[in-house]
């Protein structure tokens, strides 16, 4: 890690350990955490599933399932959880609970023996983000239904829970979370920008600890369910924050740290096309979502909501082509220009393409945060209604069932979205030049090679600014 300061202000290596506070460490080491939070979350999802099933084909705006999942959860995820707390959602996600229980045979206690199920290893050539990339893209094909039809949300969530269980029967540990879950991929990508991390505290302690209980497990907890090696964590990408390593480490050497956002972007480890494409897909989806959900073009809404089969198939074709081919294609051209501008003939174009793709992570997250603001500010008031009447049965649990639809700060929405985009654009630039220096060995080459990528980032940001503010 370079000893540099981000924006000339904050040391990139700065970190502050939150688990040095006794209460936090006690919570993290307790077997009841995150189990209790997870079970509570499961009960919320039971209500979501129930509301989705009961709600059927009714309007989504008065449905607990639709509102909690697509307004509250999605916005919490993009606005708070991922940017600040990395993959904290995975910590409390109830989807793999059933397969965990089946494999271990125990809900709370530790099973130090053989786990149940086939415990197969995931195919080597699929140990990447590609399944998640395609899975998430395909899921967005149905976005026009999820947000307006409760039953569609029920089917989606029910399918994910079922799939998590089936994969848990066949494959080892959290294979589903690591390589399949649609929600996992983008969290992994953007958690590289998160302002927190789980890492060892002292590298030397881990080196001297021969047994590696964080990986193998012991009587205090399971070996990393995410099949990682916590003793040498370098990136947030695949850490599901299950906290087992806190419980299994006999030296209390794991810590939860606040850090400079985006630090992982500079870690040159396991960078690949899968993560690069994830960045393109997320940007492409954000653009399509904005156009179809928040834009003024009714014809696009009709296409996404399958008013006609031809329109719907056109949407799928354009959406897929844009995210999988057009975005990466344009980026490839700029990568090629970068290599040309650098005049470096040694660095492979593939490395240029992959390394610079990580500059899209901050701006991509910014785009999604801006999009989330466009969801929560106009529609957030519906949540007050549905928490009082979750099944649209006429309940009034908290006295807010008749709270009218009240958009909040929508007059400021464009400014907030614009400011968000510019802030995250600046982060992309700050990390982009450092990535350029990692890519090209010579400083002058790095400077020249950076210019086309700066143009691309500026172009992307201007496009989204035009969309959000125009």
């Amino acid at each position: 890690m370079e000893k540099e300061k981000l924006f000339g202000l904050i040391d990139l290596n700065w970190r502050f350990e939150l688990t040095k506070f006794k209460l936090v460490r006690w919570i993290f080491k307790s077997r009841w955490f995150p189990l209790l939070a997870l079970i509570f979350n499961l009960s919320v999802f039971i209500i979501i599933l129930l509301a989705g099933f009961i709600g059927g084909y009714s309007a989504g705006n008065y449905n607990f399932g639709v509102m909690i999942v697509w307004i509250l959860w999605w916005v919490l995820l993009m606005l708070i959880l991922v940017p600040f707390f990395s993959r904290m959602w995975c910590m409390v996600c109830p989807f793999p609970l059933f397969s965990d229980w089946f494999q271990r045979g125990k809900l709370f206690e530790i099973n130090t023996g053989k786990h149940r199920g086939l415990n197969l290893k995931w195919p080597k050539h699929l140990k990447n983000m590609w399944v998640m990339n395609i899975g998430f893209l395909v899921t967005t094909f149905f976005s026009g239904f999820f947000t307006v039809r409760p039953y569609a949300t029920f089917v989606l969530l029910g399918s994910i829970i079922l799939l998590a269980f089936i994969i848990g029967l066949i494959f080892e540990k959290r294979t589903f979370c690591l390589y399949v879950c649609q929600v996992s991929g983008f969290q992994g990508l953007y958690s590289q920008f998160a302002a927190s991390e789980i890492r060892h505290k002292d590298e030397e302690i881990c080196k001297k600890h021969a047994l590696k209980t964080c990986f193998l497990g012991n009587e205090k907890g399971y070996g990393c369910p995410w099949l990682l090696t916590p003793f040498n964590f370098k990136k947030n990408t695949y850490c599901g924050m299950c906290l087992e390593c806190f419980k299994t480490c006999p030296h209390d050497n794991m810590g939860f740290f606040l850090r400079v956002p985006g630090k992982d972007l500079l870690i040159d480890e396991k960078r690949g096309m899968d993560e690069a494409w994830k960045a393109f897909i997320m940007l492409g989806i954000a653009m399509v979502f904005f156009l179809s959900m928040q834009g003024p073009w009714g014809i696009l809404k009709d296409m996404v909501r399958a008013t006609t089969l031809k329109g719907y198939l056109t949407f799928i074709a354009i959406h897929s082509a844009f995210s999988l081919l057009v975005m990466p294609g344009i980026f490839f051209v700029f990568s090629y220009l970068s290599k040309l501008a650098s005049a470096n003939k040694e660095v492979p174009l593939k490395k240029v393409f992959i390394n610079f793709a990580y500059t899209l992570i901050p701006i991509g997250l910014g785009v999604w945060i801006a999009f989330s603001l466009g969801i929560i500010l106009p529609n957030g008031s519906y949540i007050l209604h549905i928490i009082s009447d979750p099944f649209a049965w006429g309940w009034n649990l908290f006295g807010t069932a008749n709270f009218p639809w009240t958009p909040v700060f929508t007059g400021l929405l464009g400014y907030l979205q614009g400011a968000t985009l510019i802030i995250f654009y600046l982060f992309s630039i700050a990390y982009g030049f450092r990535l350029s220096k990692q890519t090209y060995p010579d400083l002058n080459q790095a400077k020249r090679g950076w210019i086309p990528m700066l143009c691309f980032l500026t172009l992307i940001t201007l496009t989204f600014l035009w969309l959000y503010l125009g």
């Binding site: 077997r31 079970i39 509570f40 039971i46 129930l50 009714s58 809900l107 009447d389 099944f391 006429g394």
Partner: protein, 128 residues
Amino acid sequence: MKKQEFIAIIIFLFATIGVVVGVFAIEKYRLSKFYTVELIARAPEHGNWYPAKIKVPSGKEATILIRNIETVTHGFAIPDLNVSAGEIKAGEVKVVRFTPQKKGIFPFMCTVWCSDYHMEMRGELIVE
């Protein structure tokens, strides 16, 4: 099985089966305690009023819970008894209370143009 494992399983069961059973138990109690009948509003091509015939006793207050489970606005009125719920927006729930004094069969209907078959969105209130 150790005590903590047992407690965890109890909490799990409460959070899953307990929630489902609790929700339906509360709703069943609420409907029987506070409402005479629950009426579902759907356009004729999607099933029409359900139930299409409702019975209420004469001289006693009737409380009808009307749920619009569709994506279009409906309305509810019993013109002969001067009862109206006004507009019931998509997903909305409304309650009408009235005390029918005369026995007979009275039509109720949707009062908002909701579909091409709107005029067929009718049912019968039987006052016994």
